[in-house]
């Protein structure tokens, strides 16, 4: 199948994509340059007073006016509709430095919101949402658009993690321990520990420890990892309802880590699992994952579920007042993200990462604090947007209307 044509496409895709990355990286500079260049001649076009000379003759025979038409702007007040909320999302710290009992060079704090996502007219966002990049402990099926960026490090989680932090700007790394799956390689917990060790050595950002989805095996492996890396405040991804919740919560607490409480798109189940965790864990040690569905494949459920959870938390529901994590990589489950389609929808090298971006940004606006992501261009874009929303500068209001006349 890998004929000449296919190969050409791969090459073309690579080029386009690395160019995109490169250009995205340079965008900041370009914008600045442009801004400076054009700052001088902002007013060229915007002279509506001069253009709008009195040539439009008001029609004389319209229906007789009921009341006198205003002759000047009727000034009215605008009062920002600011609210206060009884609830607050708890702050959760991920990662621990040497002085804190771990070995991480960097730590992050997420949560702490007292207002819906980026309602910064009310109150500033206390902590920027962060991005954790996916690293797999073995070869897994990956979309072509993703694979081209990590092909040299597949099967080498430590190198992959390094690439993700140094080149792609990851705030955190999620190490997915796929090989422990009894249906895959059934790798023993000791082997998983070695993988985590290699990743922890390679990068100094906080880690997320991802399981395989088997409730029994995951608990065994998580315990081994939790004990070996006591004090690191790793995020254990995840604790689910069909696991031995008490056992998991205890080894997470005892060894100083953080639980990711995962439930399938149902706020009542999320509350219930969180309540079970409260018996053993303080609130500050719990992040929740309410399930992320891809754009086009149930994103509306995920969005509304998260939006409702956050509003409920602010209205004082303590059982939902946790930072939210999203498995945004699920965006790639949508076939439109990776599949070759008719020419009018190509190239998929752009369509795919954009799918991940749109999934992420939709959920960013619902209140997600931690994104688990995959494609470097998507990561770069989401980081840029977060930076803008955290306190970007104001735009140039005078110049904005020029979109009407801009020549593209």
């Amino acid at each position: 199948m890998a004929g000449g044509k296919e190969k050409d496409e791969i090459v073309a895709g690579l080029k386009l994509n690395s160019r995109l990355l490169e250009l995205l990286a340079k965008l900041q500079e370009i914008e600045l340059e442009d801004f400076e260049m054009e700052a001088g001649d902002l007013e060229i076009w915007l002279q509506p007073g001069a253009i709008a000379a009195p040539t439009v003759v008001p029609p004389k025979v319209v229906a007789p006016p009921v009341k006198a038409k205003p002759t000047q702007i009727i000034e009215t007040e605008f009062i920002p509709p600011v609210e206060t909320y009884p609830g607050k999302v708890v702050e959760v710290k991920l990662g621990a430095t040497r002085s804190e009992g771990g070995t991480r060079g960097k730590t992050v704090v997420i949560g702490g919101e007292t207002t819906p996502a980026f309602y910064t007219f009310e109150r500033p966002t206390p902590h920027p949402p962060v991005i954790s990049l996916d690293v797999f402990d073995m070869e897994v099926p990956l979309a072509k658009a993703v694979k081209m960026h990590v092909k040299d490090v597949l099967g080498d989680p430590a190198a992959w993690a390094k690439l993700a932090v140094e080149k792609f700007g990851a705030d955190m790394i999620t190490i997915h321990l796929i090989s422990i799956d009894p249906l895959v390689k059934d790798a023993p917990p000791k082997e998983a520990v070695k993988t985590v060790e290699a990743v922890a050595q390679a990068v100094d950002v906080p880690l997320v420890i991802g399981g395989c989805g088997d409730p029994v095996k995951d608990a065994d492996v998580f315990q081994e990892v939790a004990e070996t890396f006591a004090g690191e405040r790793f995020l254990i991804s995840s604790v689910t309802r069909d696991m031995d919740v008490e056992r998991c919560a205890k080894f997470i607490k005892k060894n100083g880590h953080v639980a990711l409480s995962f439930t399938p798109m149902d706020l009542n189940l999320a509350r219930e699992l969180n309540r079970r965790l409260y018996d053993f864990l303080p609130k500050e040690d719990i992040v929740m994952d309410l399930t992320t569905a891809a754009l086009g494949y149930g994103l509306d459920y995920a969005f509304t579920n998260m939006e409702r959870a956050r509003l409920a938390a602010l209205m004082g529901d303590p059982e939902l007042a946790h930072p939210m994590s999203s498995g945004t990589t699920n965006a790639w489950a949508a076939r439109e993200a990776w599949m070759k389609m008719a020419p009018e929808w190509e190239p998929r090298e752009l369509r795919g990462p954009l799918w991940e971006v749109v999934t992420a940004l939709t959920l960013l606006l619902a209140g997600v604090d931690l994104f688990m992501m995959m494609h470097p261009a998507a990561v770069k874009t989401v980081k840029d947007v977060i930076a803008q929303l955290m306190g970007g500068r104001s735009g140039n209001a005078e110049k904005l209307v020029e979109w009407v006349t801009v020549k593209v």
Binding site: P48, T76, F118, D181, M265, E307, G395, V401, W403
Partner: protein, 479 residues
């Protein structure tokens, strides 16, 4: 605390069927098709039927009650109609700020721009591509909605000519864009009955724009970039002037100013929905194409990429209409799908009936597959089986409308459920073999399914697009 509050008038959440029932004729005449007036009132409150389905209420004797009902049912965001005929577009008409409070009405309209200095060939090609854009998704056709005609020349004659050309070549409604009233008037003369949306009234030209809107019966956009006091003042002035249909543009900033943009959209929508501020209760316009303002020297793909994600954020944050430049499928597809998702009625589960579905004319040797009852999953799998032109049975397992991978993770799809569904379907009476093809993403259930059902499990492809190939290679060698 006051997210729940609605000062002044009854918010949609508080409106009960009784409030509507009290004002109906209460004769239980059934003309509306409902059993009685109370049942009708319930549907009206849920916005499932319009009040006008009650024929008696439209009679003279109920005039007062009808007026009261209209006021009671008035959406927080006014519905503004652009264009005429069957492609006319409704903007706004929202009742709630958050979709879970009821549902959103009137999906964000997407307008694609053309200019009065574009070569004719390009102009016609852009119109054609806008009109012909279509993507089939869960049995719906996703489309683009409007053409935004910009005057880059600032020349009335050129604008008039291009508006004429656009009107001749498409029935899509137009947005006429120029801050120069003379130019806009020339455009309106070329299409005097088309009821385009005018862009835009500003602090400098509002009077002339208001006159044009009144003269031609057009809705009018109000533009006040990042200045909500001015925006609201202009809205008040224009309403007083007699212009009833407004669209609000608080400015779309792509890079610097993005935070202000989201704040402005949010503040306007909250003021209208939660505080009953009627002057801000108009549809909102977002202009993702402002990304092209500073695009010199930047690769087109990057600008299109930025335009696409800006559009997505605005679809999520309350925009009722967007003006875009990029016509690239890769950039538009995520947005039309996002729009469909956000505007799906959250009260209705997106699920299909579980049970056994038949494709072609299967016999006792035909393959048996299963999938979940999430509508999108089902339609996707069904269309892939159809395109393979094979005779097969597809068992739809009830996962409460959740897709395969999420359902496996969330235990909505279990071996028990599959075994029970197999049994209930009586498929064992229809085929000789006992081989079940399961979705690749449900592979981890294989062993348990075999144990519980006694059927042999064959793990199918992870994506149903591979079903045709899979059946050809695996099923035929199996049998």
């Amino acid at each position: 605390m006051s997210e729940r509050e609605a000062k002044g008038k009854i918010g949609v959440k508080e409106l009960s069927p009784i409030d509507v029932y009290k004002l109906l004729p209460r004769t239980n005449c059934k003309e509306c098709g409902e059993e009685n007036c109370m049942a009708f009132a319930t549907k009206v409150v849920n916005r499932e039927v319009p009040i006008e389905n009650c024929k008696p209420i439209l009679k003279k004797e109920f005039e007062k009650a009808y007026k009261q009902l209209k006021e009671l049912l008035k959406p927080a965001i006014k519905e503004v109609v652009i264009g005429v005929g069957d492609r006319a577009v409704k903007l706004g008409g929202k009742l709630v700020m958050y979709r879970h409070e009821l549902t959103y009405f009137n999906p964000t309209a997407i307008a694609i721009d053309v200019t009065d200095e574009m070569p004719e060939e390009e102009l016609l090609s852009r119109i054609k591509r806008t009109e012909e854009f279509r993507f089939e998704y869960i049995g719906q056709i996703l489309k683009l909605d409007m053409i935004a005609v910009r005057s880059t020349s600032n020349d009335p004659d050129k604008f008039k000519a291009v508006v004429k050309k656009v009107a001749e070549n498409t029935k899509l409604p137009m947005v006429l864009c120029s801050l120069n009233p003379n130019v806009l008037e020339a455009g309106l003369m070329a299409a005097p009955k088309a009821k385009p949306l005018l862009y835009a009234a500003t602090k400098d030209n509002w009077r002339e724009m208001a006159e044009l809107a009144l003269m031609y019966g057009c809705p009018l956009t109000v533009s006040a970039p990042n200045n909500l006091k001015l925006l609201k003042s202009l809205a008040k002035t224009l309403v007083e002037y007699g212009v009833e249909d407004l669209v609000l543009d608080p400015g779309t900033f792509a890079g610097d100013g993005l935070a202000d943009t989201l704040n402005n959209f949010t503040m306007i929508r909250r003021a209208a929905c939660k505080h009953g501020d009627e002057l801000l209760g108009f549809p909102l316009m977002g202009v993702p194409m402002t990304v092209w303002l500073d695009s010199a020297g930047i690769a087109q793909e990057i600008v299109k990429w930025r335009e696409a994600y800006l559009a997505a954020m605005l679809i999520v944050r309350f925009a009722d209409i967007l003006i875009m430049h990029s016509l690239d499928g890769w950039a538009l597809l995520p947005n039309v799908i996002l729009r469909q998702n956000i505007y799906t009625d959250p009260r209705k589960p997106v699920a299909v009936e579980p049970g056994l579905k038949v494709f072609g004319t299967p016999d006792e040797n035909s393959p048996v597959m299963f999938t979940t009852n999430f509508a999108l999953t089902y339609y996707t799998v069904a269309s892939d089986i159809e395109s393979a032109k094979v005779n097969a049975y597809l068992l739809v397992v009830d996962t409460e409308g959740i897709a395969v991978d999420s359902a496996v993770a969330g235990r909505k799809l279990t071996a028990e459920k599959v075994a029970d569904a197999l049994k209930a379907s009586r498929i064992e009476n229809k085929v000789k073999h006992r081989k079940l093809i399961i979705p690749g993403k449900a592979a981890r259930l294989s062993g348990e399914i075999e144990e519980l059902s006694g059927w042999q499990v064959i793990v199918g492809p992870r994506d149903s697009s591979d079903i045709p190939k899979f059946l050809q290679e695996k099923w035929q060698t199996q049998t």
